[in-house]
Each structure stands twice: as C-alpha cells, then as structure tokens.
Amino acid sequence: MNKNLKLTNALISGAIVTIIFVVIITIFADLYLPLKDLLKQYFWHHWVAKGILSVIIFLFSACVKYTFSKETLEKELSTGLNSLTLISICSTIILLMFFFYETFY
C-alpha cells in the first residue's frame, strides 16, 4: 500500500472540510451574533478563533480520514485535488456574494 498517496488524500480531505467549515462559521457568526461573541470570549478575536479552529479541524479531519480510509488510488487523488479546487472557487463566490448581500440588502 502506498502510504504517501493515503496521507496526501487525507490532507486533501482535511483541507476540503476546513474550507467548508470556514464558510459556514463565517456566515453563521455574522447572522447570529451570540456565536461571534462566543468566539471572541474564548479566543480574544473572532478571526483568531476561526484560524485556531480551522487548524484543529484540518488536523482532526485529516487524521480521521487517514485512520479510516483504505488504499488510495491515483485516480481518487486527482479527483480529490479537483474537488478541493472547485470547493475553493465556490467558497470564494459564496463569501463574496454573502458580504455583498449583507452590505446592500
């Protein structure tokens, strides 16, 4: 079994989960201010909170994926990388649209 393929695939999954988490917590904390206050309360600043939580979620999800996944094929890796690219683009568009909406509507 190629452990490098498996590890890389786990890191890709970790990055995907982290990006989705950033989008969800950003939108949710802006719409529901008690959450933003909670983040500030525990981590001093909401941005610092999101940064620290992102690192924790990345490591956790990569470890879970590495532990529970079987052998990774090259084809899966390519699909994973393309998914990561696509999710990054979609997340960027969603965040931009959300802040536009929040500002003007």
């Binding site: 890191l11 990006i19 500002t103």
Partner: protein, 138 residues
C-alpha cells in the same frame, strides 16, 4: 510584503507545472518558500488585523464615503485568507510525497496545476482588496 512574495513563489510553481518537463526540486523549494511566506503573512497580517485594524483603521473607513470597503472587501479578504495556507500546504506536500506520481501521471500534475493557479488567483484578489481598503482610508 510576505504575501506578495508568496504569490511570486506560487506563480513560479504554476508556470513550472505548465511546462512539459517539470523541475521537481524547484517545485519543492518554491512551494515550500511560498507556504512559509503565507504562514508568516498569516501571523503578521493577523496581528495587524486583530490589534490595529479594528481599533484604528476600521472606524475611519466606516464613517468615510466608502464603508463598503470594509463590509465587503475586508470581510471577504480576511476569510479567504483563512483557507489559503491549507491549499498551499496540500500543494507543497504533493511535491514532497508524490514526486513519482506527479512525473508519471498527467491527471495528478494537471490537478496540482489548477490548485496552484487558484492559490495565485485568490492571493491576487486578496492583494487587490487590500489596495481598495487602503484607498478607502485616505
């Protein structure tokens, strides 16, 4: 400044990947420098944003003629910035862990090329957002 240098590093990675014969040692070094610079940028930019921007710069923008510079571009920039180091980490580790796979598999090479391009694209958007925000303060 560190963010700009990181963009240069990933621009170099992107363009080396487009070539037919890639230089894996160059890709390893350039992506690693880029990753370290992004992390440095994360720390220095985060320090500036959390300690200085919110107290001094943000109030000036919000009472000025361009409050949207903060509510759209700063908010957008600070959150996109959160996930770029993870993308850079994935690209860097691909070069270190999958050297043979990248050389022998066109699909993987192409996927990493796209991801590197996205890193450059998003970082450039962040830079331009920074220019808009700076302009709104004056």
């Amino acid at each position: 400044m560190t963010g700009l240098l990181a963009i240069v590093a990933y621009y170099a990675v992107w363009f080396d990947l487009i070539k037919k014969d890639i230089n894996i040692d160059f890709l390893k070094k350039s992506s690693l420098y880029g990753l370290l610079l992004f992390l440095l940028s994360w720390l220095s930019g985060g320090y500036y944003y959390a300690l200085y921007y919110g107290n001094v710069v943000k109030p000036i923008i919000k009472i000025g003629p361009y409050p949207w510079a903060h509510t759209i571009f700063m908010e957008f920039k600070e959150h996109i910035f959160l996930f770029i180091p993870f993308l850079a980490l994935v690209v860097t580790l691909c070069f270190f862990l999958l050297e043979n796979n990248i050389k022998g598999n066109k699909e993987i090479k192409q996927s990493i090329t796209y991801l590197s391009a996205i890193i450059v694209f998003l970082s450039t958007i962040i830079t331009f957002s920074g220019i808009i925000i700076s302009g709104a303060v004056r």
